[in-house]
């Protein structure tokens, strides 16, 4: 069984909430990303979302944009990312790994994805494809990889149903109108919308995009099956990169994990 599906159903049956941590592959370099992934999972991250750098990441705020730029300077592509994941899998063969990125890079590397050597990758999230479309129609598919679609506060009801039914990994509820790293969470709206999604989805619904504080994390975990944290982690990675000091990140993850448990 796919690691992501297995993990999410275990979390659910234990009545717990999933914690997803995001970082950009190759920021600041591939070796450090592998170390950070180990730190993520040992501190309490259940699922790791790996950002695939792209020159034009239109859904990202400044923090993650800069991380994409740093990685691109190191010539990171899906080829090096698959190699990186292979290395990581020598240490950890249980944590689900999700690739998150933009359609163009995935189309370009569809062969790599189709091969998915040793089933190292578990899921793909493409930011710029309408959620009711199937990635396989663009040649992006693999037997053991499922897909994650986004639903936002502006998604209309008829499409919520189509997208929810089309998501095979989990549904990613974008908690605000904005790019990654923004603020302004409207908890009431979020609750209503996630309830609506859950009526249609056979997979769990996780929430992400504007989560910064422990308080945000708690509120959102209460009304979803789990949360995704991106910009806060990427910012700490940026700040710690020079001296390779990442202790804060482990502590932060542990705290969040405790708050949502």
């Amino acid at each position: 069984m796919n690691r992501l599906t297995k993990k999410l159903s275990k979390i659910k049956s234990n009545d717990k909430k999933a914690l997803v941590g995001y970082l950009v592959a190759g920021d600041p370099d591939i070796e450090t990303t592998v170390e950070l992934m180990k730190l993520f999972s040992s501190s309490g991250v259940d699922i790791i979302e790996i950002g695939v750098p792209f020159t034009d990441p239109i859904a990202e705020g400044p923090i993650i944009q800069k991380a994409h730029d740093r990685a691109l300077k190191k010539d990171i592509s899906l080829v090096s990312i698959f190699q990186m994941i292979e290395k990581y899998r020598e240490f950890d063969d249980v944590t689900p790994l999700v690739l998150m990125g933009y359609l163009n890079t995935f189309i370009y590397h569809k062969k790599l994805i189709e091969n998915n050597q040793n089933n190292a990758v578990d899921s793909i999230l493409v930011v710029d494809i309408p959620g009711e479309l199937k990635l396989e129609d663009y040649g992006v598919k693999s037997n053991n990889i499922n897909t994650i679609s986004l639903i936002s506060p502006t998604t209309k009801k008829d499409r919520v149903k189509l997208i929810a039914e089309n998501s095979t990994g989990f549904v990613y509820y974008v908690t605000l109108r904005g790019v990654t790293g923004s603020s302004n969470l409207n908890i009431d709206e979020i609750k209503i919308n996630i309830e609506e999604i859950k009526r249609h989805a056979s997979v769990p619904t996780l929430a992400g995009f504007g989560i910064k504080s422990i308080e945000d994390a708690k509120l959102l975990a209460d009304c979803s099956d789990g949360i995704i944290i991106g910009s806060s982690l990427v910012q700490m990675i940026e700040q710690g990169s020079e001296k390779k000091e990442f202790d804060r990140i482990g502590k932060y993850i542990t705290e969040i994990k405790k708050a949502i448990s």
């Binding site: 730029d69 359609l103 163009n104 189309i107 370009y108 309408p130 639903i151 502006t154 904005g178 790019v179």
Partner: protein, 400 residues
């Protein structure tokens, strides 16, 4: 605003090109825009207002002018100029903004945003926003802010705010990224006036339709001026809006060759250019699948052109379709050729063209050899060159 083929299809595709590849938050906004446009485009009141504004505010129709000395210079067919440079604000860009601001008004949007490269679309947007008293924000790459400083000041004079974009290559594509991010954030009260036939559906269709007034006028003016349809229409292609507006009404008129001229920058063979139709491959950028300049990892390549308005790695999806179907031809001229044409047209015709437009003129050097005396060739003069004076002076080593 007539329909000459049934494209795009209901999902926004021209053959395999186009579509709506955007973050989910924008899907509803695009649907809302499409519904509004479909409701209004055949509405008589709306059409009346659009053509009234084009006539009284823009000064349409723009003339079709016989370029006597240029014609003599080449010594073959007759060269005619479609004078979009005479429009209010100095380029074809205003045709589109006049139409889109009416959509924004109808939709009750309070805030207008746009991206701009050469600054012409920024000026055209700030102009129509000022006219309706709407808040207006223009995104412009930091490099373009510098090389098109005159237009930056014009935009500010018109009461709009200019946001200089530092990310990526700091040119048009990055300005578009930033405008999309603004739209994702402020989607409820903001209307995004995209400046070319690019971006997600329904923009390529809407921008084409509003610019098609150029081609529609050309059909009438050709009959009046030379009693038949032209043998060729030549237009520069950045995103492709001036070309698409001129080409579209001619798609079923087979005697007219449609020729788009891209920017070859330092030369096609150097790879340093902005000519995706000549030297690119299909890919997804800014919401559409179209020809794109990309590397072997699917990353978008940096572009190079002396002309800010052509300095873009993508192109409107309908041009990709016209290329593959063979109905239009796409060629490229480099910076040096464009600069030479810039001077030549200024001296021979008393018209200083925009650097973008100079690319279309430069191709006459090759094209006119293919025609005889009886032929009629139209160049779409997409804009005037006032904005480029500083750039050209600097290249010529002159301090103003």
């Amino acid at each position: 605003m007539e329909s000459n083929n049934n494209l795009p299809d209901k999902n926004g595709f021209f053959g395999e090109y186009g579509g709506k590849f955007v973050p989910e938050t924008l899907m509803y906004a695009l649907e809302e825009l499409e519904n509004t446009y479909n409701k209004l485009k055949d509405n008589n009141e709306f059409k009346k207002q659009f053509y009234k504004d084009l006539s009284e505010f823009v000064g349409r129709p723009s003339p079709l002018y016989f370029a006597e000395r240029l014609t003599k210079h080449y010594g073959s067919g007759s060269i005619w100029l479609k004078r979009e440079d005479l429009n209010h604000t100095g380029a074809h860009k205003i045709n589109n903004t006049i139409g889109q601001i009416l959509l924004a008004k109808y939709m009750g949007k309070k805030r207008i945003i746009a991206e701009t490269g050469a600054g012409q679309h920024g000026v055209a947007t700030a102009t129509v926003a000022a006219r309706l008293g709407l808040e207006c924000h223009i995104y412009m790459g930091a490099e373009d802010v510098q090389r098109q400083s005159l237009n930056v000041y014009r935009i500010k004079l018109l009461g709009a705010q200019v946001h200089s974009v530092d990310s990526g290559s700091a040119t048009l594509k990055d300005a578009l990224n930033e405008a999309l991010r603004d739209w994702v954030t402020n989607v409820d009260d903001t209307y995004y006036i995209i400046g070319s036939v690019t971006g997600p559906h329904p923009y390529p269709m809407i921008v084409r339709d509003f610019n098609s007034v150029v081609g529609e006028e050309l059909i009438e003016q050709s009959k009046e001026s030379f009693n038949t349809m032209p043998d060729a229409i030549v237009a520069c292609v950045g995103g492709g809006s001036n070309a698409m507006g001129a080409f579209y009404p001619f798609i079923n008129i087979n005697q007219t060759r449609l020729i788009g001229v891209e920017a070859a920058g330092n030369g096609l063979q150097t790879g340093e250019h902005a000519a995706p139709l000549n030297d690119g491959s299909p890919g997804v950028l800014h919401g559409a699948l179209s020809y794109l300049m990309q590397d072997e990892a699917g990353q978008v390549k940096a572009t190079k052109s002396v002309s800010a308005g052509l300095d873009y790695p993508g192109v409107g999806p309908e041009h990709s379709w016209l290329k593959d179907s063979g109905r239009a031809e796409y060629v490229a001229v480099d910076d040096d050729e464009a600069l030479e044409a810039f001077h030549q047209v200024s001296e021979l015709e008393g018209i200083i063209p925009a650097l973008e437009t100079a690319h279309a003129f430069a191709y006459l050097e090759t094209l006119m050899k293919e025609f005889d005396d009886q032929s009629n060739i139209i160049v779409n003069v997409s804009g005037r060159g006032d904005k480029d004076i500083n750039t050209v002076a600097e290249i010529d080593g002159i301090k103003i």
